[in-house]
């Protein structure tokens, strides 16, 4: 006899089994995560062009928030990359630019072996946004004005890439006289991330033209250092790499749990990226 309780637990278990199956398969992996950045850096002299699209479902309304973030990334040295981006969204009822950010990442530890590495990097972002501050969550990628800095460690081991980061965020008032209205003591937060990546296809590399397919699973969390409130999200995604030069990520981000006020935590994201090597 199968009671309703066991049915429920079987339903819960199935996605976990699928996830472990995907992570345990014997192919090689990737670390080009969708929702976080790995400790590895860009090739010297390369330029990457990225377009991030988020289609987020605003809670308690029928509105869809669309965020568009075009970005340009430069490989300055073997240990340093910088990038700049512009934030667009339709949150204020018209689609308009709301600001931008500058990001830098410095790789300070690299321990390479054939088909594996352990690396660590420090990163920072300075962000400007002139939209209204509409949630307790602090987000330097299209919502708040402020700074974020942290460290990330990435372990690549043949078929699996595992990465984890911690960063400190400090929000200030947004532009256009849009104040941070959730309390002076609640402008600071810590972000914790944990990312798994796995190369699904091809089973064996033969040439650079082969399309790579990666599966990513990421956990994204924030704890406000003032209020102690938190959120925890899960973000699975599928990534296609074409011609060893271009990539398309398609993912879904979903809130698992929160005590922070958030307006649109759930939605789809699509990232388009193309890399030009040896151009700087």
């Amino acid at each position: 006899m199968t009671g309703p309780g066991t049915l429920q637990s079987k339903k819960m278990r199935l996605p976990l089994i699928i996830i472990f199956f995907l992570l345990a398969q014997s192919t090689r992996s990737q670390e080009l995560f969708s929702a976080t950045e790995p400790a590895s850096n860009r090739a010297v002299g390369s330029i990457g062009v990225r377009v991030d699209n988020s289609i987020m479902d605003e809670l308690n309304t029928s509105k869809i928030n669309y965020h568009l973030i075009p970005e340009i990334m430069l490989g300055i040295s073997k240990t340093l990359m910088v990038s700049g981006d512009v934030f667009f969204s339709n949150r204020s009822s018209v689609f308009r630019s709301e600001g931008g950010s500058i990001y830098a990442k410095y790789r300070f530890l690299s321990n390479d072996e054939v088909q594996k590495h352990f690396r660590m990097a420090g990163f920072g972002r300075i962000s400007y946004n002139n939209s209204d501050v509409h949630q307790e969550e602090i987000n330097m990628y299209g919502h708040n004005t402020g700074v974020e800095f942290g460290i990330v460690a990435t372990q690549l081991l043949r078929r699996i890439a595992l990465s984890s980061g911690v960063s400190f965020l400090n929000a200030t008032d947004n532009g256009n006289n849009n104040k941070f209205v959730y309390g002076l003591n609640n402008r600071k937060a810590l972000n914790y991330t944990l990312s798994f990546g796995k190369l699904m296809l091809p089973k064996e590399y033969k040439d650079y033209k082969q399309t790579n397919i990666n599966f990513m699973l990421e956990f994204l969390s924030q704890v406000n250092t003032g209020s102690g409130k938190y959120y925890m999200d899960i973000a699975p995604s599928i990534q296609f790499i074409f011609n060893s030069q271009s990539r398309v990520d398609i993912g879904y981000r979903r809130q698992l749990s929160t005590t922070l006020l958030r307006t649109a935590p759930n939605g789809f994201f699509v990232r388009l990226e193309h890399n030009f090597f040896n151009v700087l």
């Binding site: 992996s29 850096n41 002299g45 321990n111 072996e113 650079y208």
Partner: protein, 156 residues
């Protein structure tokens, strides 16, 4: 400088370099190395085996093959060299104990193969920092030996 002044004048040239890159498993990473190596003016052609992360480099005739520049290109792409083998064509070079051999601007210090004649294509493996994995470098007891520019410890 001492090494250069007493080194043998040789008739020899580097015909190929085989290098294995480390720290990567993705084709986009391998492609970054491939494209970086192609920017070296003395490189004629590159055969990349992305299954084993190995690159076979051939060179323009008469050009100086700069091992350091090759290694630096791999590092600039964001990765490391785990193995570096040079195929060198020797024309009857007598190898004597501890005596350096100069080949097209590179000075080689052989750590084995004493007192033998080198003839035809012979592969030598570089042992210096950056040309082997960090782990191997620590264990091959060369850590205390420093070399100047263009001077390399090699093994047959």
């Amino acid at each position: 400088m001492i090494a250069i002044s007493i080194s043998l004048a040789t008739k020899a040239q580097v015909s190929k370099v085989y290098l294995q890159a480390s720290g990567l498993t993705c084709s986009m990473c391998s492609n970054a190395i491939n494209k970086a190596l192609r920017t070296l003016d003395f490189v004629d052609n590159i055969d990349a085996d992305i299954r084993t992360y190995t690159f076979e480099l051939s060179f323009k005739p008469g050009s100086r093959v700069d091992f350091d520049k090759i290694k630096n290109k791999v590092e600039d792409a964001g990765f490391s060299v785990a193995g570096f083998v040079a195929a060198i064509y020797f024309d009857n070079v007598q190898l004597k104990n501890n005596q350096p051999v100069t080949i097209g601007g590179n000075t080689l210090l052989f750590v084995n193969g004493k007192d033998r004649a080198l003839n035809g294509e012979i592969r030598v493996k570089l042992l210096d920092k950056g040309f082997v994995s960090a782990k191997k470098y620590k264990t091959n007891a060369l850590a205390s030996l420093s070399t100047g520019e263009g001077i390399y410890h090699v093994t047959l």
